[in-house]
């Protein structure tokens, strides 16, 4: 989430914020703690994240080990039942959560960073730089991601979670760059940008201290959508067999469930947890984002 720190609406180093009776950040927190959408969304994400972080510590055997009786429904011993081969679905689920979060976070951060740098520079500087960056954006936008991934997999065989996430990040930033560029473009003509110039601010300071905070909720929306998007792409790649070759992820669980006809055999406990997990993470991220928008935008706050 380092990328997001820049987007925070108030600068923690801002001495005025520290000196003010109620600091800006504490004020945001005040409203954040009273926002139901943010609390609910963040709560779901946090619970799943904790499950992914702590869950694996409580499980002795590796997640793909054949530990129990095959094809068992949920029971006190195997909370989410077992697979056709007697693997513990709950163990796979918590390990899968971990991998899925890692892939989403890394992919989202990489894509956000590139999207912000490209979008801010193109939108604020304009001119030739804008045209060059625009061309780059369009090229990446039309690259057939799947074909490239197939080729990379075939020739380089890079199939770790990190490599997958970075690949997703490197290919999914263009729409974010475009959105940020458009937003920056509309902000750079506002008088407060001129006033910042008249206060001796340079371009970098104007982007980080005026433009980015002004669209902080927008940047968060972008990041959160990229995060969710990375999770979805990673899961689909796993599902079609282009994911990491080892380990376990929610997408790989779905692939296995589908490959071994879990649905036809009525083994709902095999495919519902990973499916619901993906849906819950992505949905909760979106709800949390709507809440964040209300927290950061003083105007939305008052209505």
């Amino acid at each position: 989430m380092t990328a997001l720190q820049e987007a925070a609406p108030r600068d923690p180093r801002d001495p005025r914020d520290a000196a003010a009776p109620v600091s800006g950040r504490r004020e945001a927190l005040h409203f954040a703690l009273r926002n139901g959408k943010l609390l609910a969304g963040a709560g779901v994400v946090l619970v799943l994240l904790l499950l992914g972080l702590i869950g694996p510590l409580t499980i002795d055997a590796p997640p793909n080990e054949y530990v129990g009786p095959p094809m068992q429904g949920p029971s006190p011993e195997y909370w989410f039942g077992t697979t056709t081969f007697g693997q513990d679905v709950f163990a796979q689920f918590v390990y899968g959560l971990r991998t899925t979060f890692a892939a989403g976070l890394l992919g989202g951060v990489v894509a956000s960073l590139i999207g912000m740098v490209v979008g801010f520079l193109a939108g604020f500087r304009g001119g030739l730089l804008d045209e060059i960056l625009n061309m780059l954006t369009n090229i990446v936008l039309v690259i057939p991601t799947l074909a490239v991934l197939l080729i990379i997999n075939a020739y380089l065989g890079i199939r770790s979670v990190a490599a997958q996430a970075i690949f997703i990040g490197l290919t999914s930033w263009p729409w974010a760059a475009r959105a940020i560029r458009a937003q920056t473009f509309s902000l750079r003509g506002r008088d407060f940008v001129d006033l910042a110039r008249l206060s001796g601010s340079n371009t970098w300071k104007i982007i980080t201290r005026e433009i980015a905070p002004n669209m902080s909720s927008y940047l968060l929306l972008t990041f959160i959508l990229l995060f969710g998007n990375s999770i979805l792409i990673a899961s689909s790649l796993d599902f079609i067999g282009l994911g990491p070759t080892e380990g376990v992820s929610l997408g790989l669980m779905l692939q296995n469930a589908s490959q071994w006809s879990a649905m036809q055999l009525g083994m709902w406990w095999w495919f519902i947890p990973p499916g619901a997990g993906i849906t819950a993470i992505v949905g909760a991220l979106y709800v949390a984002n709507v809440g964040l928008d209300e927290v950061f935008n003083p105007k939305l706050r008052e209505t």
């Binding site: 108030r10 005025r16 110039r197 206060s199 001796g200 601010s201 905070p213 003083p298 105007k299």
Partner: protein, 324 residues
């Protein structure tokens, strides 16, 4: 302090590939001396803001020069210590996600990093009281919680924190209601007493008249008449100025609706190029507007009048003034 504009020109590139150009300001020359308010009057689109933004270094100058005390404008921290601006729309001048008093904080960071919090707070409060604001009413508020008049005053207070020599006020009262407008104007009249120059940009003649020592009338990017305010307003020579003065509510009517101009007073006198000095501190441009504007500008590069011209014109202008 003296701000001098010498043949300042701005050509914007417009169109899809920057192929077309638009001359927003064309060879404009005038001075803003210390302790004076100079009002720059013109209808919208006449290039007033472009001039103001060039003086503030926010827009590069295409040709000509702008100098402050003889030194060319170099936009940056040092220049902005002495030259500041206030713009038309107060709500756009404040970043809506921050409290309004952050504009002071930016000044402190850039220019007074050594000031302690208590010192700085006292200076800000003093500046706010100078612009007739109650510090407790504006500090800690978001821009949307303050009125347009309060915001414009906060911006003037911000400028006053610096070692100000020139204030560019671009239509700063046009979005305020009538009573607030007068208060802000009085404030401007007051701060010029501190020995700083004010360039007061407006499309409203009555406001320009109210506080300016000198007036510059701009039309389509060129100066049509300028000089001491009482002279420009009392004895307008250029048909355009007369039209503005006689028909304030019809400001945006096409020229054709007004008295048709058949002869060019300026040209008839045999003048070529620049502005003619009709009397002391009163300059006027060619009157035939579109037609001979080009000829006039092609003539002499300098916008400043020549002595010879003055003598010839004076007689004719006098006759015309008396005949009216």
């Amino acid at each position: 302090m003296m701000l001098r504009l010498d043949n300042v020109t701005k050509v914007y590139k417009v169109g899809a590939f920057g192929g077309k150009t638009l001359t927003a300001v064309d060879r404009v020359s005038f001075d803003v001396p210390e302790g004076q308010v100079v009002s720059l009057i013109g209808e919208s689109g006449s290039g007033k803001s472009t001039l103001g933004r060039m003086i503030l270094g926010l827009v590069p100058v295409t040709a000509g020069s702008i100098t402050l005390d003889g030194a060319p404008v170099r936009p940056g921290k040092e220049y902005y210590r002495h030259v500041q601006g206030v713009f038309q729309d107060p709500f756009s001048t404040f970043n809506p996600v921050f409290k309004a008093d952050r504009v002071f904080q930016l000044i402190r960071e850039a220019y007074f990093p050594a000031a302690t919090a208590a010192e700085w707070d006292e200076r800000v409060r003093a500046a706010l009281r100078d612009v007739r604001l109650d510090p407790d009413q504006v500090l800690g508020k978001y821009p949307h919680q303050l009125s347009g008049g309060q915001l414009q005053r906060v911006l003037i207070a911000r400028a006053l924190l610096l070692d100000l020599k020139l204030l560019v006020a671009d239509e700063i009262t046009s979005m305020l209601d009538a009573s607030t407008r007068i208060d802000v104007l009085n404030l401007l009249a007051e701060i010029k007493g501190r020995g700083l120059g004010v360039l007061y940009i407006t499309h409203d003649l009555s406001l320009g008249n109210y506080l300016a020592e000198r007036t510059v009338v701009l039309r389509h990017g060129t100066v049509v008449e300028m000089g001491a305010t009482d002279k420009v307003f009392g004895r307008p020579l250029h048909p355009y100025t007369r039209q503005l003065l006689s028909a304030v509510p019809r400001l945006h009517d096409p020229w054709e609706d007004a008295e048709p101009v058949t002869s060019c007073l300026y040209h008839d006198s045999g003048a070529a190029g620049g502005l003619a000095e009709a009397e002391e501190d009163h300059f006027v441009a060619c009157a035939r507007l579109e037609g001979c504007r080009e000829e006039r500008l092609e003539g002499r590069p300098g916008g400043r009048p020549e002595g010879v011209l003055k003598g010839r014109l004076e007689g004719r202008l006098k006759g015309r003034l008396e005949g009216r």
